[in-house]
Assembly symmetry: C2
Homo-oligomer: 332 residues x 2
DNA sequence: TCAAAAGTGTTATCCTTACACCCATGT
DNA sequence: ACATGGGTGTAAGGATAACACTTTTGA
């Protein structure tokens, strides 16, 4: 973007050094659930997402990201999508420590866990290690009672005029008390916990928190800088997107059973789904086709193996729900 | 984002100067349709979106954007949302001309057209001036036949093996020939026209185009740099979002009739809607409440004036469609 | 034979779409 | 009277959610 004004305060901006950091949330789904790739080359420091600075020779932002990921993890990424750009001057401790300004651009990448790779210092971790309250596949997660208590305290100590809005926010994000759990609100939940101070990095960053450091859930500073926030953004985006775009298939092997597919969606969404209806939903949308082959590794009756119909990526770029159209013939 | 690796090629990145440009697509809806605010302080150059560089004293990216917009247009923005970060090294002519690298971050802002403002060098323009093929409110837009011809030529001259995929792409984006018009694909359509060379800025940027410069639709280089692409991104996002979040109301006056609301949605989506069903859809979702007042300025029977129920912003942060859940009681 | 998973049928309910119609006002 | 827009009724068709049931394998 180029301004057309006479330059005014541009000089000060140019002098200030600026680094753009490209970071990737690389997601795969294994038999045990959703996994993210994190790096910890130096065990004295918390783990981090694969990332590196944008350099002059990178033709595009995405190309720069792919280069860093290739170098650090050996992955040649397939599906990649930009998530968000974060640039608050004081958003976390390590950003403040650096001279100049750091802008970070987060990306979401979907891969098959089993592709060839070079993984020095990298490992797959369940994303629910970082967000244990997000996994409702086996009912309400255990940690939620602690979360609930923390939030209840925050509400109880609210000044009179803020009480209602705090209650409302808790009800919407965490479905408390009479609300419904909305699995897409991962980021909103994280941000609430951060603000209250129930998450250790809020204290590390020196944010003004209601809760004391000791009240924070989970022991360690699990991810560097604002990487947990970026991960939350990625999960929110992915949970939203699986509902209207066939992105799950980027995470599936070439052939899979219906239950494999269902388990993958459940892993991402963090909720259990109704088997028969899930099957019909997918069938009905024409997303898969039968390969004819069967597998009997499932423990019960052998299951048909399906493959993704790549054509639908062209057929239905967005299913589009919502507005009642008035169909009119073209005016010619 | 901070890398935990030993610094390797970081030095080269730090030395290179980097500018972050913040740009805003400011949208309003007037009686005649959707409008964007553009600036043209220097009439010898094409118009541009309000924008300016990120400066050290800007605490957050959004704060920087608000400051620039306030200064350039007098608007104190309400609803603001980050769209996308663009950083291709060679994406447009003016970026290549500058020393160092320019990264631009686009934002979408929704305002009421009638708010107090200071508009030197700024003016409201219908966004369909920049995308005339996107307005289907009165049936198929006239310019589409020219677009169709251009695309047909591009398909006809395709090498054998690329023919099918070009046809498919035209069918999906422009609904040709047996396809359906999907109003959300504004960006995809713009990118196709850019690649083919049917849009003048493709030639200005020196992109490798199929079509000769003379074949480009629309005479002028209507917006600076990649601002037309950013505008396309904004329209796509907004057209998608009105379907699942109550964002239209950011564009409405405090009180409005149902037809006002319908006209606003139609203006954004670029299609006509079914009156009775639109009404019931909105009513049923509890988005509005009757103020009791009526207006007889409508030409026919007086219409009730409604107001947006601000509460729903809390009640339904996302309506959530798609996955068949299995409802289970908490395991306690 | 039984557990485990695959896969089908059926129904009540709700939402979407389309069409038809009446109502209240200004000219 | 009639044009213009406001507003309601209703019925067909489709999608959703819930429940029950049959089928096919391995142990």
């Amino acid at each position: 973007m180029t301004r057309s004004d006479p330059p005014r305060s541009r000089a000060s901006a140019a002098k200030d050094s600026m680094t753009v950091e490209l970071g990737a949330v690389i997601v795969a789904v294994g038999p045990d659930g959703p996994r993210v790739l994190v790096r910890q080359p130096d065990t004295s420091r918390p783990a981090a997402l694969p990332s590196g600075p944008l350099e002059p020779h990178h033709r595009t932002l995405e190309a720069g990201l792919r280069t860093w990921v290739e170098e650090q993890t050996g992955y040649d990424l397939g599906y990649v999508e930009q998530l968000y750009s974060f640039g608050d001057a004081n958003r976390h401790a390590s950003a403040r420590a650096q001279p100049g300004r750091i802008l970070s651009i987060g990306y979401l990448a979907l891969v098959h866990e089993d592709k060839p790779r070079r993984m020095e210092a990298s490992e797959w971790r369940s994303w629910y290690e970082f967000f244990p309250w997000e996994d409702w596949r086996e009912g309400e997660p255990a940690i939620l009672s602690a979360v609930r208590d923390g939030i209840a305290g925050w509400i109880a100590e609210a000044p009179r005029d803020e009480r209602k809005s705090r209650e409302e926010r808790a009800r919407v994000t965490f479905g408390l008390p009479g609300g419904h759990w909305n699995e897409e609100l991962v980021l909103e939940r994280y941000e609430l916990l951060y603000e209250i101070g129930l998450v250790p990095e809020a204290h590390r960053d020196g944010a003004a928190c209601w809760a004391p450091r000791e009240a924070a859930l989970m022991d360690a500073d699990s991810l560097q800088a604002d990487h947990r926030r970026i991960l939350a953004t990625a999960i929110s985006r992915l949970r939203g997107k699986i509902k209207y775009r066939p992105v799950v298939f980027e995470l599936m092997p070439p052939r899979f059973t219906f239950l494999d597919l269902q388990r993958a969606v459940e892993a991402l969404a963090g909720v259990e789904l109704h088997k028969a209806n899930f099957r019909r939903l997918v069938e009905h949308q024409g997303l898969v086709e039968d390969t004819g082959a069967k597998t009997s590794k499932t423990g019960g009756r052998p299951a048909s193996l399906f493959r993704f119909r790549r054509e639908v990526l062209l057929e239905r770029p967005a299913s589009g729900v919502g507005l009642p159209p008035v169909r009119r013939s073209a005016k010619t």
